[in-house]
Subunit: 285 residues, 4 copies
Amino acid sequence: MCRWMAWLGQPVLIDELLFKAQHGIVDQSLHARMGAEPTNGDGFGLGWYGVGDGPGIYRSVSPAWGDPNLRELAYHLESPLFMAHVRAAIGSPVQETNCHPFRHGQWLFVHNGYIADFHLLRRDLMLAIDPPLFAQVQGSTDTEVVFHLALTLGLEQDPIGALERTVGLIETAAGGHGITAAVQGSFGVSDGSTLWAVRYASEGPARSLFASADPSAIRHLYPDNERFQRLTDDDRLIVSEPFSDLPGVWHEIPQATAVTVHHGGVLEQRAFRPIATDSVSAPLR
Amino acid sequence: MCRWMAWLGQPVLIDELLFKAQHGIVDQSLHARMGAEPTNGDGFGLGWYGVGDGPGIYRSVSPAWGDPNLRELAYHLESPLFMAHVRAAIGSPVQETNCHPFRHGQWLFVHNGYIADFHLLRRDLMLAIDPPLFAQVQGSTDTEVVFHLALTLGLEQDPIGALERTVGLIETAAGGHGITAAVQGSFGVSDGSTLWAVRYASEGPARSLFASADPSAIRHLYPDNERFQRLTDDDRLIVSEPFSDLPGVWHEIPQATAVTVHHGGVLEQRAFRPIATDSVSAPLR
Amino acid sequence: MCRWMAWLGQPVLIDELLFKAQHGIVDQSLHARMGAEPTNGDGFGLGWYGVGDGPGIYRSVSPAWGDPNLRELAYHLESPLFMAHVRAAIGSPVQETNCHPFRHGQWLFVHNGYIADFHLLRRDLMLAIDPPLFAQVQGSTDTEVVFHLALTLGLEQDPIGALERTVGLIETAAGGHGITAAVQGSFGVSDGSTLWAVRYASEGPARSLFASADPSAIRHLYPDNERFQRLTDDDRLIVSEPFSDLPGVWHEIPQATAVTVHHGGVLEQRAFRPIATDSVSAPLR
Amino acid sequence: MCRWMAWLGQPVLIDELLFKAQHGIVDQSLHARMGAEPTNGDGFGLGWYGVGDGPGIYRSVSPAWGDPNLRELAYHLESPLFMAHVRAAIGSPVQETNCHPFRHGQWLFVHNGYIADFHLLRRDLMLAIDPPLFAQVQGSTDTEVVFHLALTLGLEQDPIGALERTVGLIETAAGGHGITAAVQGSFGVSDGSTLWAVRYASEGPARSLFASADPSAIRHLYPDNERFQRLTDDDRLIVSEPFSDLPGVWHEIPQATAVTVHHGGVLEQRAFRPIATDSVSAPLR
């Protein structure tokens, strides 16, 4: 299990959301409430858009709750769009190349969940990666392979469509090994302008995923909350689990759903339907 | 909060107790049951007596549950006497020099608990350390200072007495700052032959501490348990919290009590009574 | 031995000086030319003024040449005033709390060199630290003690004067132990507006220290160098060793000299003369 | 570039060879003399046979010269057969899964050198790995791929033959990409009883490799050297570069040569001739 969050809105000091939020992502690294396990202490990552070309990434194998550098960076970096991820490793080593977000050019990618029996599928799935991208896979997580499959299948042109094809391809490959509940989780993607998120499981309930409500509604609900009063209509959060229990602030994203957040706080929602691919050896390209 | 364990008995593969025990110390790093917090993920340490002069130490800032090197060492080191400690930092940095056990010559030292308002007392307490030992303090924990005070006050001649004088000195120094509940915790000490453990709090209940029962009683209680049948009369464990819920296997060490474990499994118990020292600037030496 | 650099001038992407400079500080971590040792691989630190209150710090125990996070940060942080330091440990542990720069409020501090026989002096020097500052010493380097002595002796009011008193105090304390060549090195200090640097050794030649020349002179000398043409009259560098062999670009700072760099590129130079303090136990405050 | 060493002989405290040898492997991590670069500071690994089943491995991303745990382990582990490796990364991340030795069951594997243009060949070579072994590749080095190819091609039955087939396969695959000088380096292999070493380059001189001379000859040459007098006829070292300049102690292993060291100090030498494999997609199995 892992936890992630993404912010798209006015430029904020990252600290505001990582450390100042009551039950923010750093608190979730130690005390997650909605996952299979409360502890997400096997490294973390922060990807942000700001100064310099493309997104910056800070990844560490330390638990997020105890890393002094994360606290420093959060307090001295401002960004209108960033993603943070805290990791609970399930099998693959605790190393920076296994920490999310993963990056390709302008793109960032995070995941909470897993590919079932990944050790059985890893070879087939890596063969389906566009060969020139193969050597870019530096770690050993399922997520990095999913990301490179999605890049292979058109992520940069159509993020949701590419993820539907990717999940379809994985389910097909898994089926060939007799694995049914192949894909579990939530995915987050950004190119620096737009934010996409998917909640999906091949079988049973998918990992939790929430979007912050319309800021004007939040301000109206909690007129005395100073932090909320600073929210503008541009501001949206997507999170694995809410930062607070306040009613009306968080909307659960339904199962098998994809969400798109545009600048200006506009949030679109549609069904997420995997597109089966009948052959791993001939991926759509 | 932290958790620790100590073994004195027949030489065993360390793995047997660190990883194979149902709720061993590594499991406690992720899921402690009896502490203020379930997570002890801010580094760990292992000190063992075996090949080579004096005790060896392996310390790491990684959580114990995810460190592949700890697993390797545990599986390839055999020892008749070792201590392991998993840390939950409360204020001081996560760094190897803050990980227990601390060492001086043949001696190892671990602690679960704290010195209250240590930042107020640190200078006074460090001044009370025997000057030639001062430069050996490499980290910034309260425990390392306690250890060097105890060395100053005769740990190598009379471990329990030195700890009584040390706790008395700390309580006196704390009193001067208006701090009442100065010392909290359990302490473990060894010189490679004998094992000493103390449970004590200046005020209120002290951190939990348990000793394994007489091995013959354990074997009798659980005749079908293969692991228990391998226990000899030499074998004793001291632990922050039991490795299992089995009745009759673990005896709680009472409040304000010191325990001595000799080779041969002999366990002695006596009251632990801090010896007040009226001046920090003139420690008993 | 260590190496450090400081920039005061127009806001630049830190990458420009850390990685793009031909023989910049990261290259010096692997291939220093002017020090006792070519390798400065025992951790590093970056302190910068920019977004957020006070300076940010990123410190790591990895060698600077191989740390992917440093590369990321350098490429995504812009600052008008920053300091970087690569460390070659001589005795004290490789841990983040021993990495420079050290910080106190708005102040940053770096050092290349050593206090001779520091283990003999550590206690005396720590006793001379203003008691409320004592608990802030988190690591075990001589430099952190020097910094806290300087804070005790007025760094925030008069940086150069405080360093003269600090060095005098150390030399006096060392004399009491029969140590003559007590202080060796170069020091860098900043409050976010001004930059101070000192080159001094109690005996023999001090560690090397250089300032970049007047930018207009540099531009005039190298009219075809694009990077140099971007220099404005505000820009100044202080470095342990030059980033290039180009004549006219770097001026050696003389022995026993203090330099002050103000905004606008103004560089003042004066003699550095330690002020002896006759008693460690009664520091000037 | 990297440096490695292997010991087969009487059980020794690992410290004797890692730290006590004048120019041992830890000194080579900071000051190698025979490689392209003096610094091998991008992690290290130690693999040893001793207590417990199979070899133990300790790997770290710290430079070997500054890792306190390595010093501890070396001083408290005794082994009749061990390998140590210090790494200079050339492209792939500094992470434990990229540190040598690599392990499979009873087998250990180290390498000094590289596969040229590995990013171009990585996919082809990984496809040639026996599919059930594919998921065991945890890092991103060329060496780990070479090891798994050698396992695919019979390492456990015929180590030298399998390496000849592996090198042949790599050279064939490289030829298909127009790469000529594909393989460079020295390789070390052990199963816990025997030690094999290979020195080979597809083009030009291969990385240096030396074997210690017959112990009786060494004792005879240096009758006053206490350490040498402790050598028995069982003892042999294979090293990337000699631990000393003493004449008669080290024999250079010729280019394109494989060496086998049996218990009892018996050293056999034969030509190493890659066996071309015409198709990557149909490896010899």
